[in-house]
Structure formats: C-alpha cells, structure tokens
C-alpha cells in the first residue's frame, strides 16, 4: 500500500529499510538480554515469585474478582459516557445560547476536577441521598466519577471533530434542504466520529484504566487494588505489577481491536466518509487504526 504522504520506496530506500531493521532488531535483542540478566541478578526471576500465578487460588481469590469489577465499572461507564459525551459535544455547538453555555460549563467543570475526587464526592452523595447499599456504593461512585469526567472529555473530542470538517459539508447539507438536526446527525457527526476515532478509543482505554482509581480511597476491589492484596500475600511486588500490566494490555488491546474492526465495518457500509476518504483495508497489529490515509498501515 502506498501512502499520500510519500512516494513508493525505490530500491535504495528498500535496502536502507532492511539495514535499519536488522540494526534495530539487534539493539532490541541486546536490550532484552540486559533486562533479563539484571532481573536475574536481582533475584526477580526466582520461581517462587512467579509460581503463585500458576496456581488457581491467586486467580480465583484476587485477580479474577478484581478483573470482573474492573470490567463491570468500565463497561457501564462507556455505555453511559459515549452518548452523553456526543450529546454534550453537540450541545456546545448549538446556535442557542441557553444550550451552549450550560453545556460548556458542565464540560469545563467536570474535566477540571481529578477523577479520584469526583469519585469521592459521588460516594458521599450516594451515601447521603440514596438507598444504594454500602457494598454497591463504590461501583456507583466509580461509574459516576468516570462518566462525568469522560463524557466531558469525549464532548471536546466530538466537538473538535465536527469543527475540523470542511465547511462545504454543512453548506451542501443546507443546500439540499436538510434541517440542522439532520445535518448534524446524518452528515457531520458520522464523519467527526470516524475522523476522531483514535482519540475516542484512547479515551475508552482511559476509562478502563481509571477504574483503578476506585481502589485508592473507596476500597473498590478492582484489578490494581486486588494486586496489592495479592502482593501482600505472596511477597512478589514486581512480578505482580508485570502480570497486572499484561492483563491490562491484553484487555485494552482487545478493546481497541474491536473498535477498529467495528470502524472498518462502518466504513465499508458507508463508502463516502468525507475527510477520511481512501482508507485501505488495514487490519494489522495496528489497533486504533483509522485512516490508513497517510500510510499508517504497516508492511503488507
């Protein structure tokens, strides 16, 4: 696949690429060996530290329940934050002042406060004015905090996407007699969402990871919090961090791969998506691959 950003590589460029690749692989191998050697010297590779992860109890008592809580909180937050974010983003672009200003206030306010504190306040709110049982409350508080923050961020992403679209798009929509709401939903929003997909997916990944904040003060037993309990038992801090990091990578990688698959399907079904025309069929390692427009598809 060629890209719009550069010409197809000639014989010299190809040769240079091969040499670069060989050097890079050599350096990488050297670095990995050094990491292995140092960890071995410091006794971090001792089997006793890693053995717990081969036993079922470490998983059934700590990691899997933690993972379940992380997934629950993340899924709920995404499902609520995505539409709410789109709504707030559109509202901020409204022609009516009374829609625009409140939306702006909400967005600016909630993205200014650290999520951890939002969760803390949400927890207190649920305790004081609802009947949510104390065992469910951390989940509610975590989801509320994540939704308020991430909906605000997503609103900004959507708004930026809409503003970046060529003016001709909305003008053409007006010219063929579409109403403002039709222009927004049928013309602008789909293009903006497609163009901004990498940023949106990044934000979904942030949601998954930020569930970890619930464990800091509220005792929400998500994955990272469970890791602490696990490490206290098996005395394997560094291995436990590595294992949990791997779980998060796999989890988020699955999420981003799914998003890019979905996006590919959307694109196939609607051939013309304005700003990001000319997408190749890119489904490689590249998770949040959107365009391919500028040659981001890896070697094919």
């Amino acid at each position: 696949m060629t890209s719009v950003l550069y010409d197809a590589p000639g014989p010299r460029a190809k040769r240079r690429n091969v040499i670069l690749s060989v050097v890079f692989v050599a350096v990488l191998a050297l670095a990995l060996w050094w990491i292995y050697k140092t960890m071995d010297d410091k006794g971090q590779l001792e089997w006793s530290l890693w053995k717990p992860f081969t036993q079922s109890e470490a998983w059934t008592t700590y990691l899997l329940p933690g993972l379940a809580d992380t997934l629950k909180a993340a899924a709920l937050s995404m499902v609520i934050a995505l539409p709410l974010g789109a709504f707030l983003g559109i509202a901020r672009l409204s022609d009516h002042r009374w829609v625009r200003v409140p939306a702006a206030v909400v967005v600016e306010f909630f993205r200014a406060i650290p999520v951890l504190l939002l969760m803390l306040f949400a927890n207190e709110f649920f305790a004081r004015s609802t009947d949510v049982s104390s065992s469910d409350r951390p989940l509610y508080a975590v989801v509320t905090g994540l939704v308020l923050y991430n909906a605000s961020v997503l609103a900004e992403v959507v708004r930026a996407g809409i503003l970046a679209l060529p003016k001709g798009q909305s003008e053409a929509a007006q010219a063929i007699g579409l109403r403002k709401s039709q222009t927004m939903t049928n013309i602008l929003l789909p293009q903006a969402v497609t163009a901004m997909l990498p940023a949106i997916v990044s934000q979904l990944v942030v949601i998954v990871k930020d569930t970890a904040l619930g464990g800091v003060m509220l005792g929400f037993t998500e994955l990272l919090n469970s890791r602490g309990t696990l490490a206290a038992n098996y005395a394997n801090v560094i291995p436990s961090f590595i294992v949990v990091a791997l779980i998060f990578i796999v989890l988020n990688f699955t999420l981003t791969s799914f998003a890019s698959w979905l996006e590919g399907r959307l694109r196939r079904s609607k051939r013309s998506t304005g700003a990001v025309l000319g997408a190749g069929d890119v489904d490689d390692l590249n998770a949040a691959e959107v365009g391919g427009t500028y040659g981001t598809g890896a070697d094919q």
Partner: protein, 225 residues
C-alpha cells in the same frame, strides 16, 4: 474550618501545587516533543519505525499510569540502576523519574491526538505537496502537521488537562506534590471530604484557565475550510 492548612509548611499548600505545576510543564513539553516524533514515526515510510511507533503506543497507553510510575522507581531505579543522575537524592530522583514516566505515558496520547489531526487534513493537501516535489519530511513538517496541530488543539488541551491531574500519581513514588500533601492532611486531620474539596478547587484553578485559553486558541487557529 480551614485553619489546619497553615499547619503544613513542608511543603505548604502553594508549594505542593507549585510542584504540580512544575511536573506538568516539564512533562508537557517533553511529551509534546516525544509524541510528535511518535506520530511522525507512525506515518513514516520506514516500516520499522511504523512498527515501533505502533507497538509503543499500544503498549504504553494500555498500562495504567500508576503501574508505569511505580515501575520507574521500583524497576528502573531500584533494579536497573537508572537513577537519573541523582542516586543519593531521593527527592530529585523521584521528580525526574516521575517526569520520565509522565512523558512516556502522555506522549502516547499526544501521538494519537495528532494522528486524528492528520486524518482531518484533506488528502489534496499532501498530494499537492508531493506533486511539487516535496519529500516525506517536508510534506509532514511543512504541510500536514501544521494543519493537523491546529485542528487538534481541543484534544491536545484534553491531554494537557489530563496530564495536570495525572501528576497526582507521582505521589505514589513520593514526589511532594499536591496529592501527597492531600494524603498527609487526610491522615492527620480525619476530614477527607473537606480536604478533598480544597484540593479539587486547587485543580479547578489550575486546569480551568488552561481549558478556556486553549479553547479560545483552537477557535482562533482553526483551519478555515
């Protein structure tokens, strides 16, 4: 009600937030540079660079920041001996390690925001640039990136605001910024909500102007199409 605040002098409330600002500025500049380089790698003609950029972004942004920051100290400094030129000064070492971790993490988001921006630049721009004989570096540096930057000031503002708040994670390796002072206060005063409100206000004061100024900038600099 707030008189306990004056009991803290090492650091003071303002001093702790000043540390937050310093972390934000250093990491912000660093991650903008590293993030731009990563974005350039991801669209570059060299397959290897594309592969590296892709792998980097997909690994780093998928790990919780807490894990990355703890790793800089517990792994990088303690096990691999990377003490950032300050082996015997934990304060300085912690600060530098935290900045390093924050740059490594935030750059992945800068990169993705920029890639979104690159997507909004019409294809014709790059095609025209190539037609007049510009090479890859020139197409990207002179034509595409300047337009891309201007269209993603909004998302970049998000990243910067997120970074400001993410500096609180530096407390997990003992950098004396706002979140660490907050923990000390909560430990001593037993008034979690009140103290939380004070610090939430502090962060609003820091991030709200950032959001508003960059929002105004993004309107001013938007590429008219």
């Amino acid at each position: 009600m707030f008189d306990f605040i004056s009991d803290y002098d090492d650091p003071t409330l303002l001093g702790a937030f000043w540390m937050t600002v310093k972390l934000t500025v250093f990491s912000g500049v660093g991650s903008l540079i590293w993030g731009t380089l990563l974005a350039a790698m991801r669209v570059s003609p060299v397959p290897l660079m594309r592969g590296f950029g892709t792998a980097y972004v997909n690994i780093v942004r998928n790990i919780p920041l807490t894990v990355i920051i703890v790793f800089t100290s517990l792994g990088l400094a303690d096990i691999f001996g990377v003490t950032m030129g300050a082996p015997d000064d934990f304060e300085l070492q912690g600060f530098r390690l935290a900045v390093l971790g924050l740059i490594a993490y935030t750059a992945a988001f800068v990169c993705e925001a920029l890639r979104s921006g690159i997507n909004t630049v019409p294809v014709g721009q790059a095609e025209a640039a190539r037609a007049i004989g510009l090479n890859f570096t020139q197409v990207l540096g002179l034509i595409v990136l300047p337009q891309a930057f201007r269209s993603v000031i909004g998302p970049l503002a998000n990243v910067l605001i997120a970074l400001t708040k993410n500096t609180t994670v530096a407390a997990t390796i003992g950098v004396a910024e706002a979140a660490l002072l907050m923990k000390e206060m909560i430990e001593n005063e037993a008034q979690t909500l009140l103290i939380g409100a004070v610090f939430a206000f502090g962060f609003v004061v820091l991030t709200l102007p950032t959001g508003l100024i960059l929002n105004w900038l993004s309107k001013r600099l938007a590429v008219k199409r």
